[in-house]
């Protein structure tokens, strides 16, 4: 159990070289992007020009939908459509045959919803299920951001799908793009009061930081274009016409669970609870983020800093201030340096905090102590302090579908939604909670879960796993992820069992590229795609998600991963202290260097000593 009086890293001081005093740049005095300046600034990143020219996210989308010979939209619109919650993708499995068959790439769209805090009603579940069956290959995917996404929706069905989503009183606005993305919140239903506060905060932030342009309604629902009032201040009072330099992710955590991975996000709120489990305020974290680029050491993942403490009534104001400082200070010339984490590295936390305080008109309090124990989910039934029951299901890689000769997640959850009176919650670990079940309904739900073979748990490793989608749909993937991780885990489970570690909780996450959707850099075993069947292997992260891992071995063939880890498991089994986690052990035993934070992520990489000799 790591106890975080914030950044009390005595160990880090001991093991890492003493850093030289940092010299920070002076923050800009004025907001650099006025319209006129933006238009003139030829050295802005391409996306900035697209945003400027888009007329508040409209671009050529409406016309692109009418180009019937292609399933694609233009490249620029492909950037814009992200702000509407969509990614244009193509089935990469089919690429080799298409040209020969005189067919264009098999384009389709990933559509991601905005579900702040991941809570939906059974009625909404049924509507989303219906959309999945009708337009999206009979699969719903619970994402790592507590929402659903659909894959494989073709262009000609986009408007139908969007209007069906709208009819379910949901939307996809800002689910992707350079805006505040879906806001996550702790799900722990056992802490009724704290969960409610966390969920409410997530929802309020989501609403107040939502883009206000009517483009979404106009394009997808054939809404009327609002004419007049084209003043920027009225259309996008918070964002302006260029929105943010890069994506912006907000989470709300309730200790002791760090299920939302607070340190992996741009902005976080950690509930500070009193003795009655009531929220007295929030610690504010800033500057976390996962993405990096292979071979570019100036890019790195970073865990968030705890910046201060804020009273509940000021939380929204702080959220808006953090976002607008990033809006104004963030790097718009280089997208690979644009996330808040780089802004804070460039100008320093102190200057950033001062600017936030200036914008909210008051000082932040000093951070309060808090303790996280893990970043996983609680599987199976739990009972809340209000006597309601909650069942957390294990959904491999978040895929809610019917497996041939396997679990019938889609059908089973549909049947449950038809009788369930509470709600559903999606977790940041891609699992599903059937929440707020009255005691007398518990047996009926349980029966349906069993009838459709839905899993209520899994082995220790699988319980703590996340994989991103990667191939075949993701355009960024360099290697398999979701289709590969299950078989790797089978290998590793054998190996762990061999060393008596079958029940050991170890976090393992894989992504097909270094952009970090499954947050692999804060997993104890992190796999990041390098090329077909090749991965970078990261080790030494903290089990509770508070410390980054370190590149242990470069470019490992998939077939060698087990053999690489096996001797480390052996050493761990022999040399660990009671209760010591795998990541912590590897650092203490000197196998891999501790990463203090982003800037030293690329230092002292590789295995520090031969494994298998403990």
């Amino acid at each position: 159990m790591d106890d975080h009086s914030p950044r009390d890293d005595a160990d880090a001081q001991a093991l890492a070289p003493t850093p030289a005093p940092r010299v920070y740049e002076t923050p800009p005095k004025e907001r650099p992007i006025t319209d006129a300046e933006a238009a003139r600034a030829a050295n802005l990143a391409a996306n900035e020009h697209i945003k400027i020219a888009s007329g508040y996210l409209r671009g050529g989308l409406a016309d692109g939908l009418l180009k019937h010979a292609t399933g694609a939209i233009s490249e620029d619109d492909g950037q814009l459509v992200k702000f509407h919650g969509m990614y244009m993708q193509d089935d990469r499995d089919l690429r080799p045959e298409r040209t020969k068959k005189k067919l264009d790439k098999a384009y389709s769209f990933m559509i991601r919803l905005r579900i702040a805090g991941g809570v939906i009603s059974p009625k909404q579940w049924l509507a989303l299920d219906d959309i999945a069956v009708t337009y999206a290959g009979s699969a719903l995917r619970a994402t790592t951001r507590q929402t659903f996404q659909y894959h494989g929706v073709i262009k000609s069905n986009l408007k139908r799908t969007m209007s069906a989503i709208d009819a379910a009183l949901l939307d996809t606005i800002a689910a992707c793009g350079d805006v505040n993305r879906n806001v996550m919140a702790a799900t722990n239903p056992a802490q009724v009061g704290a969960h409610k506060a966390a969920h409410t905060l997530a929802k309020d932030i989501s609403d107040s930081l939502l883009p206000k342009t009517s483009a979404w309604r106009e394009i997808w629902l054939d809404g009327e274009r609002v004419v007049g009032g084209e003043e920027e201040a009225e259309i996008e009072p918070v964002y302006g016409r260029t929105y943010l330099p890069r994506k912006f992710k907000v989470v709300v955590a309730v200790p002791p669970s760090n299920e939302v991975d607070i340190f992996a996000h741009d902005l976080g709120f950690i509930a500070i609870l009193d003795k009655k489990n009531q929220v007295t305020g929030w610690n504010v974290t800033v500057g976390g983020g996962m993405g990096m680029t292979h071979g570019e050491p100036e890019t790195f993942p970073r865990t968030a800093d705890v910046m201060g403490f804020v009273k509940p009534e000021d939380a929204i104001k702080v959220a808006e201030a953090v976002m607008t400082v990033q809006r104004d200070w963030g790097n718009r010339k280089n997208r690979k340096n644009a996330r808040l984490k780089y802004t804070i590295e460039r100008y320093g936390l102190a200057a950033f905090r001062a600017e936030v305080e200036a914008r909210i008109g008051k000082k932040l309090g000093e951070p309060k102590p808090f303790t996280f124990t893990n970043n996983g989910d609680r599987f199976g039934w739990t009972e809340g302090d209000d006597g309601r029951h909650h069942l957390t299901l294990y959904v491999p890689s978040g895929r809610i579908k019917d497996y041939e000769d396997g679990p019938q997640f889609l059908t089973g959850l549909r049947k449950i939604a038809q009788v369930h009176e509470g709600d559903f919650r999606l977790t940041a670990n891609q699992n599903v909670i059937i929440a707020n079940v009255p005691a007398e309904k518990r047996a009926a739900i349980e029966a349906l879960v069993d009838q459709y073979g839905i899993t209520k748990g899994a082995g220790a490793l699988r319980r703590n796993s996340i994989a991103c989608v990667a191939l075949p749909t993701c355009g960024l993937a360099l290697a398999e992820s979701e289709r590969y991780l299950p078989s790797l885990m089978t290998e590793l489970e054998e190996s762990l069992a061999h060393h008596g570690l079958a029940e050991e909780e170890i976090t393992i996450r894989s992504t097909g590229c270094p952009n970090g959707c499954a947050r692999p850099f804060i997993a104890e075993i992190g796999l990041v795609g390098r090329g077909p069947e090749r991965y970078h292997l990261y080790l030494g992260a903290a089990f509770d998600g508070s410390r980054l891992g370190k590149l242990y071995k470069e470019d490992v063939a998939a077939s060698d991963i087990r053999d690489t880890l096996e001797p480390l498991f052996a050493d761990f089994a022999k040399g660990r202290k009671p209760g010591e986690h795998f990541g912590d052990y590897l650092i203490r035993a000197g196998h891999v260097a501790r990463t203090v934070n982003g800037p030293d992520f690329h230092d002292r990489t590789g295995a520090l000593k031969p494994a298998g000799h403990a």
Partner: protein, 589 residues
């Protein structure tokens, strides 16, 4: 035109005589030669005495009206043959397409030959629908005094074999006409019997005073170029398959083969709109099943014949009758007697007959029971101006199951399964002059071609690109799934890019809960479509005749109703007018 050495050296004349005869015959018209032939024949018959009549100039030719209702072009070709022969025999033939037929003129026809194809489930060819309807309806005039004969074409694999020809035959009689010759009902192997029927019928229609000893000599063969139009060779050509690719994605449940065929000695002079016939081979597995069922396994020469020459799938009432005649099978006889044979045939093939009524047959029996394996025509999907000496085809593999047996289209599955790059195929050009681009390249065209119906429009677009036609073009395409069945998708994208295609609308029936077809897209675009048509655009439909072509026509009528606020009848008149001016053309099957 004087021709050298018309008479062979073996002719029983001296060199000088041969030269003199060559000089006369070489410059003679067909009528002169026919007259001379008749004269010489008559001379012998009269015992050496020159008859007086033949030496006189031929009397005024007898008018003969030849009407045809053609879908695939066979009836039309036969009508041409009739005219050619009739002219030689002193008739003055006039060939009229049913689509142009004014039924009010029929009473004055005098002599009338009708050649009619039957289409689909006993329907007239699409172009003939209007005139056929008028003829069968109350507006039809009496034709007392008209001598007529009907030649019916059909396909015994359809239940309503030659239904249109039969109906016409009865109707012409009912209207007061006098049947001059018995009708012939011909199957796909019609060429020989049709030639015989034509010869005999012309004889029957000939005026009494015409000497009946005219020898019909096909001078056209000896003197090519004399006739109105050079006919393509009827002999199959061997081509090499240079591209064979399934256009549907590996996730599709359809299989459409794009074939590029190379002609070694230059492609025949085909035009966009023409078809190419493929001479297929039967499925070897089916051949073996047939041989096995007939107790003839091991007969290699029969196996070879069944593979390439006989139609071993089609089952018709006639097939069963011939089977009973050959085998005396009592149960099969009962099936005929019970009157249920027609229903039983539905969805069944020859193999079902042999399996249901086991009998030991001889090779001769099988030969009698089956008909020759007909070629299968496919609309050409290329323009010579773009592909040179190649012909491209798009062929959808037909596979289905009936009565517990997997069935497959003979030609399509032969191409899909047993033909690969480098393979050879026997083919024959089949022109279709009723499916042609507008003469004026500035004219707009609207093309409706779902599935492989899009094939000729690929040819159209290639052609119009090559000649840089300034006219606009609009394609309606449809199939099941956008991602997996969008035939030639990349090519349409290029064509839109280079403006050889102006506009495309697509209908993929299974991409959304409700089925969307090309006809829905047509009515959806009513205003624009009608504005194109009113600007002189030609409208083309290719593909399924059973439903699609009718639905598309109804959609165009509906488009007029919507766009012009017309009554259904007035809108119908607009489309009928398009048809009569040949601006609404169909190539359906």
């Amino acid at each position: 035109m004087a021709r050298q050495n018309l008479l062979p050296r073996t002719a029983p004349f001296g060199d000088g005589e041969r030269a003199s005869l060559d000089a006369v015959l070489g410059s003679a018209t067909p009528v002169q030669r026919a007259w001379l032939a008749g004269f010489l024949a008559g001379l012998d018959a009269a015992g050496g005495q020159p008859a007086a009549a033949p030496s006189a100039p031929p009397k005024a030719a007898e008018p003969l009206t030849i009407v045809y209702a053609s879908e695939s072009g066979n009836s039309e070709a036969l009508a041409g043959n009739v005219a050619k022969l009739a002219r030689k025999q002193g008739f003055k033939p006039k060939v009229v397409d049913f689509s142009d037929l004014d039924v009010a003129t029929l009473p004055k026809a005098g002599k009338l030959i009708a050649i009619a194809a039957t289409w689909g489930e006993g329907e007239p060819p699409a172009r003939a629908v209007r005139a056929y309807g008028e003829l069968m309806g109350e507006v039809a005039p009496r034709i007392d005094g008209v001598d007529f004969a009907v030649l019916a074409l059909g396909d015994t694999s359809y239940v309503e074999f030659c239904a249109i020809g039969k109906a016409l035959d009865a109707r012409l009689e009912a209207l007061g006409g006098k049947r001059a010759a018995e009708r012939a009902d011909l199957d796909l192997d019609f060429e020989k019997p049709a030639a015989d029927w034509i010869k005999n019928t012309l004889k029957a229609l000939a005026p009494a005073e015409t000497p009946d000893n005219v020898v019909a000599v096909d001078f056209a063969r000896a003197a090519p170029g004399e006739d109105d139009e050079a006919e393509p060779s009827r002999e199959p050509l061997v081509v090499e398959v240079v591209e064979h690719v399934n256009l549907n994605s590996s996730r599709s449940d359809k299989e459409t083969i794009h074939l590029a065929l190379a002609f070694e000695d230059g492609a025949p002079a085909y035009e966009p709109g023409d078809s190419l016939e493929i001479f297929p081979e039967n499925d070897p597995q089916l051949v073996d099943e047939i041989l096995n069922a007939a107790g003839l396994s091991g007969d290699e020469s029969l196996r070879k014949a069944l593979l390439a020459e006989r139609d071993i799938t089609t089952l018709s009432a006639a097939t069963i009758e011939r089977f009973v005649k050959a085998t005396g099978h009592a149960d099969a006889q009962k099936l005929i007697d019970s009157g249920e044979a027609k229903a039983w045939i539905e969805g069944r093939h020859l193999i079902d007959l042999l399996a249901t009524f086991p009998a030991t047959l001889t090779a001769e029996h099988l030969n009698t029971i089956t008909r020759p394996l007909p070629p299968r025509a496919y609309s050409i999907a290329s323009s010579r101006k773009e592909v040179g000496d190649e012909v491209h085809l798009a062929i959808v593999a037909v596979r289905y199951e009936t009565h517990g047996r997997a069935r497959s289209g003979v030609a399509s599955v032969h191409v899909a399964d047993r033909i690969r790059d480098g393979a050879k195929l026997r083919v024959r050009l089949k022109p279709n002059r009723h499916f042609r681009l507008p003469q004026d390249p500035a004219t707009d065209i609207i093309m409706v071609g779902p599935g492989t119906g899009v094939a000729p429009f690929r040819a159209f677009v290639q052609e119009r690109r090559a000649i840089e036609a300034p006219g606009r073009s609009w394609l309606f395409f449809g199939d099941r799934h956008f991602l997996h069945d969008f035939l030639y998708q990349l090519e349409w994208q290029e064509a839109l890019e280079d403006k050889s295609l102006t506009k495309i609308d697509v209908a993929f029936s299974r991409d959304q809960p409700e089925k969307i077809y090309v006809q829905n897209r047509i009515t959806h675009n009513a205003q624009e479509l009608v504005s194109w048509l009113e600007g002189g655009a030609y409208f083309y439909v290719c593909g399924d005749a059973k439903n699609m072509a009718k639905d598309v026509r109804a959609a165009v009528v509906r488009a007029y109703e919507i766009a012009k606020s017309l009554s259904p009848a007035d809108a119908e008149a607009q489309v009928a007018a398009l048809e009569r001016s040949h601006r609404y053309q169909q190539d359906v099957y």
